[in-house]
Amino acid sequence: MKNCLVVDDSRVIRKVARRILEDMKFACEEAADGAQALAQCRKTMPDAILLDWNMPVMSGIDFLRALRKEEGGEQPVVVFCTTENDMGHITEALRAGANEYIMKPFDGEILSSKFAEAGLVSV
């Protein structure tokens, strides 16, 4: 079973994402901001990270840049999941090492489609 860390400051979004991901046979952990997420990654690197952009303490993009410098931090497949939907944010995310990008609102179909694009699940 693959692990996915769900990083979002909204408890509701985490819950929705967790439900979809568990249906896709992922074991899920949650973090409410980038700093929490980084601490959890230092303990165990997940296979996948679903990542919000705007969060208190540490943003998603700052977390991603920090993660990619960690030992083993190049491993997780990172899928952004954010309301930021302009080309500037998307290209910035890709340059920082994001593998895929979801623009909210999302549903199960988009999530599984993007996880397939990122090579996390087979189609």
Partner: protein, 278 residues
């Protein structure tokens, strides 16, 4: 809906489009025809169909046919055919067509355009491997409405996230208000045209590749056979046919053979292209 009305609808659809409305697809009626009933000032879908029975109004019949035959799709739908297009079809065409010549591709049920645009993106990505062989895509559908959408090249945020890898989205789309617009230079190679698969293919000329996916499933056996046999006449001897994952030629035609291990890919039986591909 009573049996007579349902039977009328089934017969009308078959006559106009060849589509078979199965009894267990009755649930589609409300969602597909409800908006039309309201727009045309009928109290209900039942009232709409009853009026169609007495009026024989071609415009109304066409509107209802269109609503019942339109199906949503997405970019790179089912993935495999597009992978096979890259791994099998492009190398074969690059090796067997001369530089400067034009490969003709037909998307026979193009819907809102995601399939032809997906192919146009692949062609652009793989241009170097095509060795100067050009291409043109004919995209047809029975529904004018979806083709008009396809022609605009505009897709919702929801649509550009289904099946389309973000790298391709960034490369080939730009934001236009709340929508996303495909690179106009990809549209140059695509001609959109309304076409009913029940009509003669003769005017279309010959194609190197035909995508006819997820449309045969709506026809009866006889119509499926007829379409497949006529497609064989419209495909180059070493050309390729793509069918949907749930579709087959088995028991329908002797004109095509599946390519072993390549799901959804077919070649003409009389001159199998795959001998040269392999």
């Amino acid at each position: 809906m009573n049996n007579q009305d349902f039977t009328f609808l089934v017969n009308m659809l078959k006559k106009n489009s060849g589509h078979i409305l199965a009894a267990d697809k009755g649930y589609l009626l409300d969602s597909r025809l409800g908006p039309i009933a309201r727009k045309e000032n009928f109290d209900s879908v039942d009232a709409l169909v009853q009026a169609m029975r007495t009026r024989n109004d071609e415009r109304l019949n066409a509107t209802v046919t269109e609503a019942m035959t339109t199906n949503e799709t997405f970019f790179f739908r089912d993935r495999t055919p597009f992978d096979l297009f890259k791994s099998e079809v492009i190398p074969h065409l690059a090796a067997n067509r001369t530089a400067g010549s034009k490969v003709k591709i037909w998307c026979a049920a193009a819907s809102s355009g995601q399939e032809p645009y997906s192919l146009a993106m692949i062609q652009r990505e793989e241009a170097a491997r095509m060795k100067g062989v050009q291409h043109s895509i004919l995209a047809t559908d029975i529904s004018e409405k979806v083709l008009n959408k396809a022609k605009t090249g505009l897709y919702s945020q929801f649509e550009v996230q289904r099946g389309l890898p973000v790298q391709l989205m960034v490369k080939y789309f730009e934001k236009a208000g709340d929508l996303w617009r495909i690179d106009p230079s990809l549209q140059q190679h695509i001609t959109f045209r309304k076409f009913n698969l029940l009509d003669s293919f003769r005017v279309m000329g010959q194609f190197d590749v035909v995508f006819c996916r997820n449309v045969l499933i709506y026809f009866d056996q006889e119509t499926k056979s007829d379409i497949l046999n006529r497609l064989a006449q419209s495909i180059a001897p070493d050309g390729f046919l793509f069918l949907g994952a749930a579709e087959t030629v088995m028991g329908l035609t002797d004109a095509f053979a599946p390519v072993p291990g390549k799901r959804g890919l077919y070649v003409r039986k009389d001159k199998p292209a795959i001998a040269r591909v392999a």
